[in-house]
Symmetry: C2
Amino acid sequence: MTDFSFSLTHIDGTARRGRMDISRGEINTPAFMPVGTVGTVKAMYPEQVRDTGADILLGNTYHLMLRPGAERVAALGGLHVFMDWARPILTDSGGFQVMSLAKLRKLTEKGVTFRSHIDGSAHELTPERSIEIQTLLDSDIIMQLDECIPLPSERKEMERAMELSLRWAQRSKDAFGHQPHRALFGIVQGGDDPELRSRSAAGLKSIGFDGYAVGGLAVGEPQEVMFRVLSEITPDLPTDKPRYLMGVGKPDDILGGIERGIDMFDCVHPTRAGRHGHAYTRFGVINLKNARHRDDPRPLDEASPNPNCRRFSRAYLHHLVRTEEILGAMILSQINLSYYQELCIGARAAIEAGTMSDYAQATRARWAQGDLPPIEGN
Amino acid sequence: MTDFSFSLTHIDGTARRGRMDISRGEINTPAFMPVGTVGTVKAMYPEQVRDTGADILLGNTYHLMLRPGAERVAALGGLHVFMDWARPILTDSGGFQVMSLAKLRKLTEKGVTFRSHIDGSAHELTPERSIEIQTLLDSDIIMQLDECIPLPSERKEMERAMELSLRWAQRSKDAFGHQPHRALFGIVQGGDDPELRSRSAAGLKSIGFDGYAVGGLAVGEPQEVMFRVLSEITPDLPTDKPRYLMGVGKPDDILGGIERGIDMFDCVHPTRAGRHGHAYTRFGVINLKNARHRDDPRPLDEASPNPNCRRFSRAYLHHLVRTEEILGAMILSQINLSYYQELCIGARAAIEAGTMSDYAQATRARWAQGDLPPIEGN
């Protein structure tokens, strides 16, 4: 078994190009992790996800502990075997979904009790139980349990949640113990308050983690607030450990995050947008429900490296979306995940070449230019 | 362009092994045609459909004339280009779905007027317009418009519909004209009455078609009635033309149809059953919703030639079905279409070897034996 390690190979401004190594395979950073909520990246076979360029998936502890259950997944050989994905998996702690999905939540120093949103059954999640569940799932990168609150919030509330998260960070570290073939990441909290964020980072560093996540963002704040917090917090994080911006985001969030020194991202957005008829390409986002595509024989992007962007006409994709055919969700999920990987692959090459700012500018300029003009008669 | 042709290569009892040739590729018979209702075999990429062994797809004229519209498909290069399926396509006439789906139908000698079940828009389907639509779709095998009535029905009603269908057969033939690179099939009607069926077949033969379909079955009658009608009618059909049993069926219907000299089948059942959590294998039908699979690490069938039957555990498939994940529909649609093709491929080999009756007996015996016993503790 390979011990977890991270090496930073290139720096361009504040953007970073690196690599994580772990038994199940290497992870090139900046990395986008597709989300496989309940043991499947929705509407994709695992090999299709891999073919988009994904080195690692994210699994959701909250969903998996409810269905099929962590002990059951363990008895079946772990999450990798269960879903037939042999490469690395990062699992979240379950805390975020407990707060957003579960019913009758009760938060104490010990942890959080709640009822399942599916069948109302009672559950408890503590820092220790979260680590146990993630270990049962056989996760490669494990997240501490934290408390994530919405923005804006009162400073007092942000401070309380940040300090609780720090105490839970210590308990998570203790529960994790010595498992060098897995990584344990701490999570910086503190809302939009620079001093709280700084104290959170300092506290986590003194505990010591394999990586540092920035939590509590993309929870309702404008993008500029998120970018400000990132710019403020990254200097407080160790340069030799990976940095993970949780639950983010759209392509321009990702690009801005990479520019600010973030190494890892995850978001349901590309697959969810795909199921709703939206395609991400270098032209920005394209709404295939729109009638302008109805008679358009052109592919989404004939210069795309992704065959699905070249082989199907816009008219066909429009038709699949309008008729709510599963194939539409399949194709557009694939197209969006491919584009997210393309964006990261492009950023990696740019950072290596020291041209990240040109890459970001050119990418944003193409987005701003928008889609191809409609064909005549439409 | 290759002219349409059919050659019968082997006969075993009344079972037939043959081959159709047409510009877009050969079609081995007995053939099962997956149904791509609105320009997609649900939850499958076209290449995945081909990989199951399908030589030909079926497209539904009724659905496609409403959405996206036949003229639109033609302007976009035809149905093959539209859905990226380069091999042969058979289209039905639209008549069956008008009767089962459309609103405010009005049948006259001329044809049928109706309102779309989607948006209430008014449409007309005549024998001539059906041929025109199927030609616009660029179909390889075109079906005459007929009137399909349920069973049981009064003899008088069966006779009326059969005679109308015969007159429409002549009009379809006239409208089709001379298009040797396409095939036109007539449809035998007459309900469960041998004399009416015989008259229908004689009438069609005197008009002359490239192939002969048996319509008006699988419309509510027991399997033994369907098999009796097939046994009675096939001696009346030309031996040198393909025979197509429309809208049939489950695996045991197909096997019985092959034994009775049918060359082609189509049915939505395998993909629909897949979307509802049912898997067809040599063990028969398996309901993956059933709790007995919840902790079962075994694959569906470790001896299957289909990788999807070997790589995913029953527990995982159960989980996907229970959580209503799209991947469950994708995998089970693929598994069912693969099994249908496997059944046809096995029948072809058996007919070639003169062992069809052994093959049918062994296949039915394995189905009767049912699924593997549950694992211990379940």
